[in-house]
Structures are given as C-alpha cells and as structure tokens.
C-alpha cells in the first residue's frame, strides 16, 4: 500500500518543514502544493525532501488539494491519499488511525474529527462555528458527520479518483462531503487531534469566513450547473 500525504501550503515558510517531517514518518511520499506563496514556502518544502508542485497563480486550498491528489494518483501510483495541513495543526501520529479502515477494506474514505474523543483544546468561538457547519451540511448534503470542516482525511485510490474538487477555495470541504454522499462512498470518522495556537487561529476560518464558505458552496451547487 503506497500512502501519499498531500500538503497544500500558502505562506507557510516557517511551519511547512515541520509538517512535512511530521507526516513523512508515517507515509511513503509527501507532496507539497505551494499555492503561489509570497514567502519562501516552496524552497522550504523542496529542502525538506518532499515533492514540490507550484501553482504559478494562487488558486485556493481546494484547487491545491486537487492538484496534489491528481499528482499522487497519476505520477506516484498512490493507493491511499492523505490530506494534511501545512501549519502544524495536525499530528502525524494520527495518520495511522485514519489509514487503518482503508487498509482493512472497511471504508474508502476516512474523515478526521475533532469532536470524536474530544482531545483538542478548541476555543468556544471555533466550536460554535463548526457546530453551525454541521447543521448546514446535514441540511444541504444530507450527510451526518461529527466534524465537517476538518481538513484531515484519507481517501482510497478509487475514492480519490471519484472525488474531484471543483471549488477552488475553502468550501471544498463541503463539496467533498457532498461527493461522498453522491458517489455513495463508504466513510468512517476517526478522532484526530488539532492543535490550536494563536498563530494558526489567526489563519483559520473565522465565523465570517463561514459565510463565504456557504456562498461558494451554494454557488457551485446551483449556479455552476448552468
């Protein structure tokens, strides 16, 4: 089983090397997609020994994930694709837990969840925003999960081919859930630990960011089919 971690990175010069090193211990290859960062994220990733793919124009996190996933499938022959963050919020140790159901053939998609096991030090504001996200997802996509916008996920090769992310920006997490439901993929959730620090909170989704996510999602769902 070839396991490849995809790390989309935008202006993560300081943190990307640590994230690569963390993930590399548990996977066969690490693919970093530098989404046209303004700093030296690309150089840092390259020096860390990961495959480096660079977007010549910034296209958003969803687009970067899709680029990395396609590369892992087409060029590296990945059997399992892991979506991992560049900012050090996620723990490499959790990779084993999220790949296990796929290796055992129990599921083709494994979603990380911050609410199962409750191991994270999540601030209340973030908690509320995420809970609203759950409600929203249950209503629009009709899929019941405990954590919708967790970027930590593992996809089997077939699932990764089925899930083509077309929403370039943040709403891709909702789109992935939508596609899991639409393509009738078998999914399970596994608890993962997310480390919150002042630095990563400033970069993460704010409550108002959630409105942009909702807008993008609806736009893609209804408008783009025209």
């Amino acid at each position: 089983m070839k396991i490849v971690a995809i790390i989309p990175a935008y202006n993560e010069e300081e943190r990307v090397a640590a994230a690569i090193a963390d993930a590399a211990r548990f996977v066969d290859d690490v693919v970093v997609v530098d989404d046209c960062s303004k700093d030296r994220t690309g150089e840092a990733a390259f020096e860390s020994g990961a495959y480096l793919l660079q977007h010549v124009i910034n296209r958003g996190q969803g687009a970067a994930l899709q680029t990395g996933t396609e590369f892992a499938l087409e060029y590296l022959g990945a059997d399992i694709v892991i979506h991992f963050d560049a900012d050090g919020q996620m723990c490499g140790e959790d990779i084993e837990a999220v790949t296990e159901p796929i290796i055992k053939g129990e599921a083709s998609v494994v979603l990380g969840s911050r609410f199962l096991g409750a191991r994270s030090n999540m601030p209340l504001g973030r908690w509320l925003t995420l809970r609203c996200g759950l409600l929203f997802t249950a209503m629009v996509s009709g899929i019941k999960v405990t954590d919708t916008h967790n970027g930590f996920r593992a996809l089997s090769r077939n699932a990764a081919q089925d899930i083509k992310i077309t929403i370039d920006r943040m709403a891709h997490a909702s789109e992935i859930l939508d596609l899991i439901k639409a393509k009738k993929l078998v999914y399970v959730e596994r608890p993962v630990k997310i480390r919150y620090s002042e630095e990563t909170l400033a970069k993460g989704q704010s409550f108002f960011g959630a409105f942009i996510v909702i807008k993008d999602f609806f736009k893609a769902k209804f408008f783009d089919e025209l």
Binding site: V33, L52, L53, Q54, H55, R59, T67, F71, F223
Partner: protein
Amino acid sequence: MIFQIFLIAFGLFAILKTIRQYRAKKVSLYWLLLWCLLWLSVVIVALMPQTTDVLAEYVGVEKGADLLVYVAIVILFYSIYRILIRSEKQNKELTELVRKIAKLEAKRKD
C-alpha cells in the same frame, strides 16, 4: 438642448470608431452592425425624443424616457450575468492550466 447635441455627437463618434475598428479587423461584422444599430437608435431618440413615447404607450409605460431607462437596466443586468458566467468558466479553465503546469514541473530534491 446641450444634452441632445452631446448624445448625437457621442453616437456618431461611437459609430465612426466602430467602423474604424471593423476596417482594422478588430471587431467582427456582427459587432459592427450591433453597435451601429445601438448608437443609431440613440441618435434617432436624441433627435426625436417623442418617438419613444409612442413605443412607451404601446407597452404600457408612461414616458418614453422611463422606458429607455428600464430597457437599459434589463440589458445591463443581463450583460453582467453573462460576464459572471464567463468569468466563472475562465476561472475554472485557469485552475486547470495552473494545475497542469504544476504537475508537469513537479520536482524533488534527490
């Protein structure tokens, strides 16, 4: 009166400009005819504003000038809609292009 003269002058200027661009093969015959038609009607309306009143009465709008504004707004909104759709499509194509380049130029330190 000044406004009428201004409109007529601008209409004629726009028509001349379009013809010149057509000669330079910058626009197609379709656009030439479309723009000429648009600006010719502007000139006609500027010369004889009462003509629009007839049309307005026919479709049930009180004044010709009002009808013009309504029609203009509808056309503008539709144009914006078309442009948005196109921009969305181009965004998608741009992502595909950026992705292709990224995959082709992937590298790793040996």
